[in-house]
């Protein structure tokens, strides 16, 4: 009671303070994010721009290094009652966040503070990934990307092709042709936990294949994996065959060169990675190399669906003061602005998350100029179809661990320790144990 009274007094004092124009000090609130290096500097600039744009609030932006650390540190801070007001949580942390009971729904926050957000303006492929099964936005999409195929035009010209292959059948033929034409490394992939995203998740979405039952987990915590009996089995089998034939090489940082470096240096001719690497390839490419991006291929006869969004969204945590929530709402509104989208996409490789942001950037001629040309392919890939029940996204608990298991089994398959089917069966078995455990941790709870 006393605490509430004090809080009310404080809130009252703050509102009085805010009514006095010049003397008021801005309300400070924290924003924790998981980007580092160049991207962290862009976020810092974004924060500075927000602080300069108005005088009522001041956001204090702190990088926690990476996505994992951000979530870990936020959990530790939350348990100690010292959580930030806004935190960036990566795509696969969504299920964990939804069950945490530690957030304030973003849509409610905006409504309470008088901001009107047109949720239909978000690209459906992006919005659905973060929304509840009923479509409410609990967090705001922030940095977003999707996977694309990067292809070396010079190498394809050598085998008489001027366009990127559209089907996996064509990819197989083209890789063989490039090998015959003397290319040592026609295509590079990596098979660690991180590549679950482009190899398993994007592939399954584009082919409208489920990763787990219950619509990829959207309809209940009792969802279980089923990638060992979808088209994905065929895909891994093909990749393995091409690897054995020397058409695909494994490139990772641990081995000395990751696939983006291998592509930019002209060593490997095809890679599949995030549109976020578009800028890096452009900046580090071999002098005079001609390359472009295309949507990820699909098997012949597939009715193509939207690819999945990757990246992170912004969550507002519970237990903060009304004044801080006002600030957080203003901050989210600022980020939602199309002008911010242009700034953000220009300085990073991320794509705009709203149609109005995309249109604003198009009208500014963003996609016509050399370094950014091609990035609109990501939007085309994300909006290839209206999201289906399966291509909305993936809503599985502890999905980070399932990705780790994906890496483990892929490595076992490529090292010839197990067959493709055995490896994927083990992935499903171990993944199900992880899901089972997650379900047991939250007895009686359901996903919103």
């Amino acid at each position: 009671m006393i605490k509430n009274g004090l809080a009310a007094l404080a809130a009252g004092a703050i509102s009085v303070a805010m009514a006095l124009p010049a003397a008021a000090a801005p309300t400070k609130f924290d924003f924790w994010f998981g980007l580092s290096g160049d991207l962290a500097r862009v976020v810092d600039t974004l924060c500075k721009n927000f602080n300069a744009s108005q005088s009522d609030y001041e956001v204090v932006c702190t990088s926690q290094g990476n996505y994992d650390a951000t979530l870990q540190n936020t959990i530790a801070a939350f348990r100690a009652g010292k959580q930030p007001a806004v935190v960036q949580v990566y795509d696969v942390g969504t299920a964990t966040m939804m069950l945490s009971g530690a957030y304030k729904p973003a849509d409610k926050l905006m409504e309470e503070n008088g901001y009107k957000i047109d949720y239909a303006d978000y690209f459906p492929g992006i919005a659905r990934y973060y929304a509840t099964s009923k479509g409410e936005m609990l967090s705001f999409p922030f940095n977003s990307s999707t996977a694309l195929m990067y292809w070396n035009k010079d190498a394809f010209a050598k085998i008489g092709k001027t366009e990127a292959p559209k089907t996996w059948e064509d990819v197989g033929a083209d890789l063989q042709a490039m090998k015959d034409a003397g290319y040592e490394c026609p295509m590079a992939i990596n098979i660690s936990a991180n590549e679950s995203w482009q190899l398993m998740e994007q592939f399954s979405a584009i082919h409208n294949q489920p990763i787990a039952t219950k619509n990829n987990g959207y309809d209940g915590l009792d969802a279980r994996l089923e990638v060992n009996k979808t088209k994905f089995v065929q895909y891994v089998t093909d990749l393995k065959t091409w690897y054995d034939a020397g058409l695909i090489k494994i490139k990772s940082k641990d081995l000395g060169q990751d696939m983006v470096q291998a592509f930019a240096s002209g060593t490997c001719q095809v890679i599949m990675t995030s549109v976020g690497d578009h800028g890096t390839v452009g900046k580090t490419q071999k002098e005079g190399m001609n390359w472009d991006v295309a949507e990820l291929p699909a098997y012949a006869g597939t009715e193509r669906k939207n690819s999945l969004v990757g990246g992170a969204s912004l969550w507002v945590l519970s237990g903060k003061s009304d004044a801080e929530y006002k600030g957080a709402a203003a901050f989210l509104n600022f980020i939602h602005d199309p002008k911010t989208a242009l700034f953000w996409s220009t300085n990073t490789g991320y794509i705009p998350v709203t149609k109005s942001g995309f249109d604003y950037m198009k009208s500014n001629g963003f996609y016509d100029k050399a370094p950014f040309k091609g990035r609109e392919t990501a939007i085309a890939s994300l909006t290839a179809s209206e999201p289906t029940e399966i291509t909305r996204g993936i809503r599985l608990g502890n999905f980070t661990q399932i990705r780790a298991e994906f890496g483990t089994q892929m490595q076992a398959i490529f090292a010839n320790k197990v067959s493709v089917q055995e490896g994927l069966d083990t992935l499903v078995k171990n993944g199900d144990a992880i899901l089972d455990r997650f379900q047991q941790t939250y007895p009686g709870k359901t996903l919103p």
Binding site: Q72, S192, N398, A415
Partner: protein, 294 residues
């Protein structure tokens, strides 16, 4: 007999011990107790609640083939890296102690590796051992496919063993050198005058006299190889390929912090603690018998 000062009163002794006990309680017993509690429950990561599950966490861990694989990998790693680090350090210290040319220089240089943080040295070894760009690229040029830590589990295990041993050679070296230098010169000289060669003197005089140091380093190295390997594994292999280098301490980290399975990770750390305790007791019980302190 040595003369000892004794206190009649217990209270003074306890008072002196209190600050230390408080520290140990705060930084060891309390967290360890918390870990035991967590290992017997299912913890929701955000602190929303927990369920008592008794020994279920232990049962599910011990029935998991991946976990046994992790224990095996840890034991292999501990055995080989401890052996390698101690043997190389012993040889280097013995040579330095013989005052060969340049030994004053080696003495300083050989201590440095221990001063380097594990992640930093792991980064260095990642470059050195990279199959396509580093030193091993030359070897791969001669024997294609010889070295592939990205897919070959044995190669990956060798990489982290090399990196860890390299660091602990420096640490062991300091102790071995100090032990050698504590041996009275007169003993060695007397043996030399009796006509025994370098190897003979090492076997019959120096080695028996440094057994306490060897024993001490054995305990420390094995313990550290279970704990200090984390940074090296994290940077060099992330536990891969196919779990070949997923040591127990790394698995605790990835399950607990990346997977947010706090209860499972707590149970694993209890098992790791018990394993280290058992190993240490074993060493004191059976190996220490062969140690001559005086």
């Amino acid at each position: 007999m040595e003369k000892r000062v004794t206190f009649s009163s217990w209270t003074i002794g306890i008072l002196f011990a209190v600050p230390q006990l408080l520290l140990i309680f705060t930084f060891f017993y309390w967290p360890a107790g918390q870990a035991v509690y967590w290992s017997l429950t299912l913890q929701q990561p955000w602190g929303g609640g927990n369920i008592w599950v008794g020994l279920d966490n232990f049962r599910s861990i011990l029935s998991n083939a991946d976990y046994w694989n992790s224990i095996t990998a840890s034991l292999v790693f501990a055995g080989i890296s401890t052996g390698l680090a101690m043997f190389i350090a012993l040889v280097l210290a013995a040579l330095t102690d013989r005052q060969l040319a340049g030994s004053r220089f080696y003495r300083v240089v050989l201590i440095w590796p221990y001063g380097i943080a594990a992640p930093a040295l792991a980064m260095a070894f990642r470059f050195i051992l990279a199959p396509e760009a580093g030193f091993m690229a030359v070897v791969n040029q001669v024997w294609p496919g010889f070295w592939d830590p990205g897919l070959d589990g044995a190669d990956a295990m060798a990489s982290i063993i090399i990196a860890f041993s390299w660091k602990y050679v420096g640490y062991n070296f300091i102790f071995f050198l100090a032990a050698f230098q504590a041996i009275p010169r007169s003993l060695i000289e007397a043996a030399a005058m009796d006509g025994s060669g370098v190897m003979r003197r090492f076997r019959d005089i120096q080695f028996p006299l440094i057994t306490p140091t060897i024993f001490f380093l054995l305990v420390i190295n094995i313990t550290e190889s279970f704990q200090d390997s984390f940074g090296i594994v994290d940077i060099m292999t992330s536990g891969g390929p196919a779990n070949a280098t997923n040591l127990m301490v790394y698995k605790i980290y990835s399950d607990g912090f990346k997977g947010l399975d706090y209860s499972g990770a707590a149970a694993q750390s209890i098992i790791l603690m018990l394993l280290i305790i058992v190993l240490t007791i074993f060493q004191f019980r059976f190996i220490e018998r062969r140690v001559h302190y005086r």
